[in-house]
């Protein structure tokens, strides 16, 4: 019975997230479209509402081209590594009070581990394609993800110290009982570092170097087509959703809100996640792209020292206030 309940939970979460991913692409095109004085998709269905479905069907039926010099096994495996590590992270996210597929003690650590695994997919796809652009994209990505992983990990240490736990549900509970109700105010430095690292971690503008369209064509997935390409795409968007969830849980108070919405326990959580995702799109429409070495300099010289300083600050205040 317990097992069945878990399976049902998995199905629900997976279905809901997949639907969100499909419509995240639609909203991205709509939001950026309106920011750029154009309409976005309008043709498929009313206001282009069926566009994600049409895209999915198209990608599914496209020819799966595998370059002759590619290392076949690795080439097949790389998008799966990306996708599986992204989807598995969903298991520990508490969407509302008492709802998490696996309420484990080291939730935050587990998510870090999986997001590091995802970079293997990127590196391997760049390597196995045996294409120069894909290779450069893979190199850039490995360097970027590794350095920003550190910044992101350090930025959340302050939260862990304040909550005294790595369990995501406990972190939300600790915030609800803290004086500010959310950790955004005491941990604003950590939040700043987290947001920047979050953009870099998911390879989004202004840190979308691995897939810098104008330099490296499409970066590490240049040689992928059809459904395999779509798997990378899915992984990227699920990654965005997961990073938004982490941000919401660690800094914005999770599912808690100013007032209780009856019947919709996940209301505030979802709203906050949407805000984060909107922020992703907004940044994409506004900012140019960093250069590879500038990105590394920002990560190592600004973000990591800031995060370390935040840890020291948090620790000092915590020990003083007892």
């Amino acid at each position: 019975m317990e097992l069945l309940w878990i399976l049902v939970k998995i199905l629900i979460v997976f279905g809901v997230v997949m639907l969100h991913v499909a419509y995240a692409t639609y909203f991205e095109r709509k939001v950026i479209g309106h920011m750029q004085v154009r309409m976005g998709p309008m043709r498929v269905g009313p206001h282009g509402l069926l566009q994600p479905i049409a895209d999915g069907i198209k990608l599914f039926f496209k020819e799966d081209v595998i370059p002759t010099p590619a290392d076949k096994q690795v080439f097949y495996a790389a998008p799966l590594i990306c996708l599986i590590s992204a989807v598995s992270s969903l298991a520990v996210i508490p969407f509302f009070e008492g709802f998490a597929i696996a309420n484990i003690n080291i939730g935050l650590l587990y998510i870090f581990a999986l997001s590091s695994l995802a970079s293997y997919g990127v590196v391997l796809s760049g390597w196995s394609s045996n294409s120069k652009y894909a290779f450069l994209g893979g190199l850039r990505s490995s360097a970027q993800v590794i350095s920003y992983e550190i910044a992101m990990g350090l930025s959340l240490v302050g939260v862990m110290m304040m909550a005294g736990s790595l369990n995501l549900t406990d972190i939300v509970h600790a915030q609800m009982s803290s004086s500010f109700k959310i950790y955004l105010i005491p941990q604003f430095l950590g939040f700043f570092v987290f947001v920047v690292a979050m953009l870099a971690e998911t390879n989004r503008t202004p840190f979308d170097l691995p897939e810098a369209e104008t330099e490296l064509v499409a970066g590490y997935f240049t040689e992928y087509s059809g459904m395999r390409f779509a798997l990378f795409f899915l992984a990227e968007y699920i990654g965005m959703i997961i990073m938004s969830c982490i941000g919401v849980i660690c800094f914005l108070g999770g599912w808690s809100g100013p007032f209780h919405v009856p019947g919709l326990p996940f209301f505030w959580f979802v709203i906050k996640v949407y805000l984060f995702i909107f922020f992703y799109y907004w940044v994409r429409a506004t900012l140019p792209r960093y250069r590879y070495d500038q990105l590394m300099a920002l990560g190592w010289k600004v973000l990591i020292p800031l995060a370390l300083f935040n840890i020291v600050l948090t620790g000092t205040i915590k020990s003083i206030s007892g």
Binding site: I32, M35, Q36, V37, R38, K132, Y133, L136, R140, T205, P206, D208, L209, A212, E213, T214, E215, L216, V217, R284, A285, T286, L287, P288, R289, Y290, R291, Y292, D293, Q294
Partner: protein
């Protein structure tokens, strides 16, 4: 030079198969950021460009050779296909060159109209440059903002001559048809709004820290280097050289309008960008002055040649000097068109576009050479790119503003 530039001597460039063998990447001819079919053979060390070798000619259509089999008037549509982003400017440049060759005086009204459309072409050209340059560096919203205004200008071209891109609006000795009142009103309304639009682009990128990091100190070219490489237009002025064909060898109505030539100082990508941004406003003001001063009168010279210019000049019956032999000779009327050669240049959005004609007195050029700024600017790419990073190659291509249609001709 710049602080970002690494010491190239430290980078070993071993023989093929060696431990330090350079990583070669063929960027183009099919690449989203090479603005057409430019091919760059890059040798990389990590992400640093050690060697950059441009290859051109993928878009060669033999315009210069084709012109030898056409009358001067028939060549005009070919010039549309040079810099197809601002074809009006090419039309004007070509017409001025042929007029100089044939000694035709253009009516004043036509001169004003041509100056006006040339500046409109400069706006369309610079708008597309800004759009693609910003997109290359990653700012995608600027791209669509620019296309909004470019669309307005192209609509006006359509109203003026029925074509949006390949205009063929001018003709030798004037312009094809007069402007309408409605056109002038639309254009004037546009010039009133345009400066605020330029502000809008600037709010997105001008002070943006990422934009400054990507453009300042990148692709530095000193004034001496720029002159010796033959750069012209904003690419030269960005290095601080005050040279503008419109100012120094004025043609059409440029002597009658007031404008400034923006000059940069550092010679980096950012200064070239600033020069072009200033030119938006200068061109805008020139258009306004042209509309305000537009005189009445004909728009085409009386002696403007027909589309069909004879290849074999008309034979005229000439009597032998003495007439004693009783033989009547047929002499070639070579006085009809000037013999000799002429080089005339005009300032198009990309730089100095020059036409060099060798005329043997026929209605067709014996030889036509086009001095296209893009071709010469591509020659400067290795100097700009070597020692910088891959991402800077893209910024440099954008800042030189090359169009392959003009480069390959």
């Amino acid at each position: 030079m710049s602080a970002n530039k690494p010491d190239l001597k430290l980078i070993k460039n071993d023989t093929p198969g060696g431990e330090n063998e350079a990583y070669t990447v063929a960027m183009g001819p099919q690449h989203p950021a090479t603005h057409g079919v430019l091919k760059l053979d890059l040798e990389l060390d990590g992400e640093t460009v050690i060697k950059c070798r441009p290859t051109v000619g993928f878009l060669h259509r033999g315009v210069e050779k084709l012109a030898e089999n056409m009358s001067y008037a028939q060549v005009l549509p070919l010039t549309d296909r040079l810099d197809y982003i601002a074809s009006m400017a090419n039309n004007v440049a070509y017409s001025i060159a042929v007029e100089t060759l044939l000694g035709i005086e253009t009516p004043l009204r036509a001169k004003y109209i041509r100056t006006m459309v040339m500046e409109m072409a400069r706006l369309t050209g610079h708008l597309l440059w800004l759009a693609t340059h910003a997109l290359d560096i990653g700012a995608m919203t600027v791209f669509l903002y620019c296309f909004r205004e470019r669309e307005n200008l192209l609509d006006m071209f359509e109203e003026l001559c029925g074509a949006r891109l390949t205009t063929t609006y001018t003709c030798i000795g004037g312009v094809r048809q007069d402007v309408t009142g409605h056109f002038l009103e639309t254009l004037y309304a546009f010039t009133e709004e345009f400066p605020s639009r330029v502000k809008e682009y600037e709010t997105l990128i001008d002070q943006n820290r990422i934009w400054l990091k990507r453009t300042k100190g990148i692709g530095v070219i000193t004034a001496e280097q720029a002159v010796s490489l033959g750069l012209t237009g904003p690419s030269l002025r960005g290095s601080g050289v005050d040279y503008d064909v419109r100012k120094h060898m004025p043609y059409d109505a440029y002597p009658f309008v007031e404008f400034e030539v923006p000059i940069g100082s550092e010679g980096d990508v950012y200064d070239r960008y600033r020069c072009r941004m200033e030119e938006f406003l200068q061109s805008n003001s020139i258009i306004r002055q042209c509309i305000e001063q537009l005189p009445a009168g004909p728009v085409r010279a009386e002696d403007a040649p027909d589309l069909v210019m004879e290849y074999n000049p008309a034979k005229k019956v000439a009597a032998d000097a003495t007439f004693s032999s009783g033989i009547i000779k047929l002499m070639e009327d070579r006085d009809r068109y000037m013999q000799g050669d002429v080089y005339v240049a005009a300032e198009v959005p990309k730089g100095e576009l020059g036409f060099y004609f060798v005329s043997d007195g026929h209605g067709r050029p014996y030889r036509m050479h086009i001095r296209s700024p893009s071709y010469i600017h591509i020659g400067a790419l290795p100097y700009l790119c070597e020692g910088y990073m891959v991402a800077d190659v893209i910024a440099n291509i954008g800042s030189l503003d090359v169009v392959l249609g003009e480069c390959d001709r």
